[in-house]
């Protein structure tokens, strides 16, 4: 029961600032969520805070492995156009 961060993460520290459980770990510039600490914000907020502030589509997955913010959901750029420009 925990959220996870994917390789889409931009490293912007936003999730780290809002996580109520200090579950975001940053090692050598790489952001991960410590599963034992993440409570999916269930007791604290109505939505997981990391995925509510994260600016990167597909950067945060829920416990089932689905992107909370899929391609297109944050920027409005359709997935086909976005993926064409992904490096």
């Amino acid at each position: 029961m925990a959220m996870t961060i994917t390789q889409r993460c931009l490293g912007c520290y936003a999730c780290e600032q809002v996580c109520p459980n200090q579950a975001i770990e940053i090692l050598a510039g790489i952001f991960t969520i410590i599963a034992e600490l993440c409570q999916e914000c269930i007791d604290d907020f109505s939505v997981p805070q990391c995925s509510a502030i994260c600016p990167a589509e597909e950067a945060i997955l829920d416990r089932h492995g689905y992107a909370v913010n899929p391609l297109g959901s944050l920027t409005g750029v359709p997935a086909e156009i976005r993926s064409r420009w992904m490096v």
């Binding site: 490293g11 912007c12 520290y13 936003a14 600032q17 050598a28 109505s46 509510a52 600016p55």
Partner: protein, 464 residues
């Protein structure tokens, strides 16, 4: 200019601020510090991974510095630039979305250099609750980016905001942002803090609307208004860039500016990045903040002075201790931008050394300007003396990660016990190092490389 600004702080402060005063551009230098990575809104002209030309800020991948590092930078820059008067905090995210980092930086700088003027740039969402801190710290200037005062216009510019622990979208988001901006600037003016408004001119979106924005902000008594043209190219990965939103023409810009005149219009803005340093007209740039090589060459060839490299201590990740006696592994990197492994060994103008500690800590320990030995294919590798210099410089390093490397230098380095590695071409430096270090252990999914499948990263057990 508004009467409300003629008091306490006096005219001197603005005459010495290159962004506020056209005269000061020629005499006084300013420096921007990228200490604030997070943002609390999304603008359609911004993709935070990349340097944002519109908001004068570098991308999160280039040159984030800690408050401690920021102070070191200021001290070093001050020693070299006696006319350094202004320190700005403008990114890579929003200064006020990172209040702890931002204000800690301000406190440190003011404690050490009380004569420096500090300024902040913000989108305004978090502004009202920070006005008192801004006033108490004695921050002189605040720049607020305001592109709309009507939520129906704003919703085409801001897809969402993070507000009261939720992501809010559309006009509801724009309305909250606009209300907070207006409240924030009114309170700043009451506290006699100089306010500059930046607006991005987006043709077809807010061009007709900006004169109304101008009237509204003039009513609050801001000092100056800077209308900047949208910069929109697909390579920046922004909504506008990818969706083909066009930039305004020079004529359109002039026309909109001419419809505004209630407060002083700023026209000398260079839309410089937030890690820039120097005079606006005679740009001096430091090199370790992720500046691209072409930019550094432009500076060099135009005769501008380049500040020597300032070594920056990398982050030691929280939760990681670094006992002094641990011996680090040393890895050299050839990079043009300080972010990616993207320089040909023979063409790198800087080599950066990273120290990797057994507990996972990675630290940038040194940056050396190197003599070039390769001047094109014809004489590649023939300039022996510089190569030997480099080999000596790199002694103690187990590997050099570069984009490409010639056969001769490869052999010479290998013979000296320094393994050249070109398989990380294009990788982000820290990820390349982490991968290299962990090669024989578990490898971590790396950012930006595998776009096929989304792989959750496994947190390293931290014992916390």
């Amino acid at each position: 200019m508004s009467l409300s600004h003629s008091g306490l702080r006096g005219e001197r402060s603005l005459d010495h601020h290159p962004c506020f005063s056209e005269e000061a551009v020629h005499h006084y230098a300013r420096m921007h510090l990228a200490v604030a990575p997070a943002c609390n809104i999304q603008c359609h002209y911004c993709h935070r991974k990349y340097d944002c030309a519109n908001e004068s800020r570098p991308g999160v991948v280039s040159g984030l510095v800690t408050p401690e590092e920021a102070l070191v930078r200021v001290s070093m820059a001050k020693a070299r630039l006696p006319n350094l008067t202004v320190i700005g905090i403008a990114g890579p995210g929003d200064a006020l979305a990172n209040p702890a980092r931002t204000f800690e930086t301000c406190r440190r700088i003011l404690a050490e250099f009380p004569d420096l003027m500090l300024c902040l740039s913000t989108n305004g969402l978090a502004l009202p609750e920070h006005v008192d801190t801004i006033a108490t710290l004695g921050i002189h200037h605040v720049t607020v980016t305001i592109n709309a005062i009507d939520p129906e216009v704003g919703r085409h510019i801001y897809p969402w905001i993070y507000w009261k622990n939720r992501r809010i979208r559309s006009s509801e988001a724009a309305k909250i942002l606009i209300d907070r901006q207006q409240e924030g600037i009114a309170r700043l003016v009451t506290k006699k803090i100089w306010v500059k408004i930046n607006s991005v001119l987006i043709p077809g979106v807010n061009d007709d609307h900006l004169p109304k924005v101008h009237t509204a902000i003039a009513g609050h008594g801001v000092f100056t208004h800077n209308i900047m043209p949208l910069i929109s190219v697909p390579e920046h990965g922004t909504y506008y860039g990818l969706m083909g939103q066009r930039e305004p023409t020079a004529h359109e810009l002039t026309r909109v500016r001419s419809r505004c005149g209630l407060v002083k219009m700023m026209t000398h803005c260079r839309q410089c990045r937030s890690d820039a340093i120097g005079l606006l007209n005679d740009e001096i740039l430091e090199n370790d903040a992720g500046m691209s090589s072409c930019r550094s060459e432009q500076v060099n060839s135009s005769g501008g002075r380049v500040i020597p490299l300032i070594p920056v201590t990398g982050h030691v990740p929280p939760g990681i201790s670094r006992p002094d006696r641990m011996v680090p592994r040393r890895i050299a990197i050839a990079s043009h931008d300080g972010v990616h492994v993207n320089a040909h060994f023979g063409q790198a103008s800087i080599l950066t050394i990273f120290e990797c500690f057994p507990d996972g800590g990675i630290r940038q320990s040194a940056q050396w300007p190197v003599p070039r030995y390769c001047f094109g294919d014809a004489d590649c590798g023939t300039e022996q003396a510089p190569l030997e210099t480099i080999v000596t410089m790199l002694s103690g390093c187990e590997a050099i990660l570069c984009e490409r490397i010639g056969y001769g230098p490869w052999q010479r380095l290998e013979a000296a016990g320094i393994q050249p590695i070109n398989t990380y071409a294009g990788w982000r430096i820290l990820q390349a190092i982490a991968d290299h270090i962990g090669k024989h252990g578990t490898s971590t999914p790396m950012g930006g490389l595998n776009h096929g499948i989304l792989e959750p990263r496994l947190a390293v057990a931290s014992g916390r």
